[in-house]
Amino acid sequence: MFDALSARFAKTFGNLRSKGKISSSDIDSVLDEITSALLEADVAKEVVDLFTERIGAQAAALLPTLQAGSNQAQAIFDVVNSELIKILGSEGRRIRFAKNPPTVIMLAGLQGAGKTTLAAKLAKFYKDQGNTPLLIAADLQRPNAVTQLQVLGEQIGVPVFAPEQGNGSGNAVEVARDGIAFAQSKVHNMVIVDTAGRLGVDDELMDEAIAIRNQIQPHEILFVIDSMIGQSAIATARAFEQGVGFDGLVLTKLDGDARGGAALSITEVLKRPIMFVSTGEKISDFDLFYPERMASRILGLGDVATLAEQAKKALNPETSAKLEEKFARGDDFTLEDFLEQLEAMANMGSMGKLLSMLPGAASMKKQIENFDESEIVRTKAIVQSMTPHERRDVKVLNGTRRARIARGSGRAVSEVNSLVERFSAAQKAMKQMRNGSMPAGMPAAMSGMPAIPASKSAVVHKKKSKSGNPAKRAAEERG
């Protein structure tokens, strides 16, 4: 998602960063770039105009105050970033629990948006937090929507209230009403009502949704929207807002590569927060919405936080518990840990997928596609040719030892050297992480990972040069 948008931003800001002093015409060209990127991302035209207007005004006001030599591009970048976060909802709102349970949540949205699956995901999410949700099957329209909810309910161990089989018959308002009564009698503290998909322009079906709402007085109405939706998002959201009304948004199918600009449009125009995201077909593919993550993804900063979480999931519990312990003790991160992490990463699936979540990923698409997965295998071979003592303390690796390791693993000495260098960097990163400057759970192996050939356009962050050698540094900057 948001891939191309982040690629374009990365490029634009890359150009901007290469300039010494930014003029107002530079800002104009940035605004043009942002406009077409946002349009390509399906952000509604009216929202694009509002957005660029605000950015333009703020950037213009900022320019004269910037000291020569300060990072002006960064300042403008920050303006764009914070404005994006502002639109996406500065703080992600959570479900409001009712004072008198059950808390009633009603879902509404277009056909095929993903409501039924989402109903089950919500139920599972809140069940895991100690709640006792009941699902109500009030989509009596789509053939076997009721069966689908029943199957899902069974899977997650959440009861489903489904007195009507649906398929075009039965009264959804009555089902919803009886479901609430049932929930009260069985002391469920939460009720999630799945409803039929409907078009904003279908008055009859919208009236049904309104009737359900009036009957059950939900505490939260969630508007479920497909992240692939285009420019009609605003009209649709407005129709739902004026019809049944809604309190929050859920963005579905974010595991796709749609840029999801509709999220920006709706939050900007209707001032409703995005509360949850649905990120796959499995029940567990569900998360709270984090505006900063989405904004940094848009801006090409990569979704480091999500990556860290995935990495945490992939590391086996024993390994990560061990690591966390070491961490707490303040022990050094060793090549043995590094090896374990490499293995865990191999288990996480394709390296390319992981890399795509890293900062600037969109602009590195080519490199990521060409990423050589066998690099991990080679790295492993090198580590495995070391003695346990060497793995625990790389400082002992003198020339003779390195030559031996190279022979043992069938790699060149230069490869051994570069691994040691990268590992030391990872170790350092690990130390920083302990000091709280990086997201916890992020495998250190990521930062010591086999190098990706960088290209000039790929450089999003001004890379801090590790080298004190000017020639080497220049080479780094050239990529």
């Binding site: 077409s36 390509e40 689908q148 285009g230 009609s232 998002a233 649709t236 590569d257 840029r259």
Partner: protein
């Protein structure tokens, strides 16, 4: 909508040459999900076409961006096998049922419930099968979709069916394992009988991501046509024009509602009118 036709009829072709107006026209096309770049080049071209009215010029230019390929279903001498594919929730199962109804007048139709993944997807197709009186071949839950398709061909041949329609599980095009699975389903069928059509179902509300969908599905299973669904909503489905323009895949049918009869062969004139009305 609406604003556009009012806007258009108020201005003359000569005024179309005036830049600000053209920008506004482009905005209207963008609002139909045609995409910014294509919208701008369409407007540029419209300027150069001389017609009685600006509507006509624009109409002509829009039509010229549609595919020249055949829009009717190509049939085989034996069973005409049609695979229906697409991302999740676009309307594949519903479209399979509608197509079955459409083909019924030409002979026996068999449906293959090869969405063995989504909960109750098989039951959904079976319900449709019962309603219209066609046989639905299904396997056990989570069974291999390719083997369901394979069984369905045998059934279709046994019944001397004219059509076999294969419903598949929704999948996001960026999931390569699922795209490979789709290719496998197709290859399994092709061992027995050629696949006459692979129809990609595109939801009319889809934004620019639709291009990516079409591109990757086409690479995986050689899509032969598009079913554009949910045109009964407020979306105008301009993404389909972008797909036709860049990938030369013709829209073959449009879906205009949830009932079985809400399917029509694609009509370029009507579609283009819908885009700019």
């Amino acid at each position: 909508m609406g604003i556009f036709s009012k806007f258009l009829s108020k201005i003359k072709v000569t005024e179309l040459l005036h830049k600000p107006d053209l920008d506004e026209l482009a905005d209207e096309l963008i609002a139909a999900d045609i995409g910014a770049d294509l919208a701008h080049s369409i407007i540029e071209q419209t300027r150069k076409v001389k017609s009685a009215t600006p509507e006509e010029s624009l109409h002509t230019v829009l039509l010229s961006h549609l595919s020249k390929k055949e829009r009717s279903i190509s049939t085989a001498s034996g069973v005409t096998a049609v695979m229906v594919v697409g991302v999740n929730g676009t309307g594949k199962t519903t479209s399979v049922a509608k197509l079955a109804r459409n083909f019924q007048s030409q002979g026996t139709v068999v449906l293959a419930a090869a969405d063995t993944f989504r909960a109750a997807a098989v039951e959904q197709l079976q319900t449709w099968g019962q309603r219209i009186g066609v046989e639905v071949v299904s396997g056990k839950e989570n069974s291999d979709p390719a083997s369901v398709a394979f069984d369905a061909i045998s059934k279709a041949q046994q019944l001397s069916a004219a059509f076999l329609l294969i419903d598949t599980a929704g999948r996001l095009h960026n999931k390569s394992d699922l795209m490979n699975e789709l290719g496998k389903i197709k290859r399994v069928i092709e061992k027995v009988t050629p696949v006459s059509e692979v129809l990609l179902v595109i939801d009319a509300t889809t934004g620019q991501n639709g291009l990516q969908q079409a591109k990757i599905f086409a690479e995986a299973v050689q899509v032969t046509g598009i079913v554009l669904t949910k045109l009964d909503g407020s979306a105008r489905g301009g993404i389909a024009l972008a797909i036709e323009d860049s990938l030369d895949i013709p829209i073959k049918f449009v879906g205009t509602g949830e009932s079985i009869e809400d399917l029509a062969p694609f009509n370029p004139d009507e579609y283009v009118k819908g885009l700019i009305s």
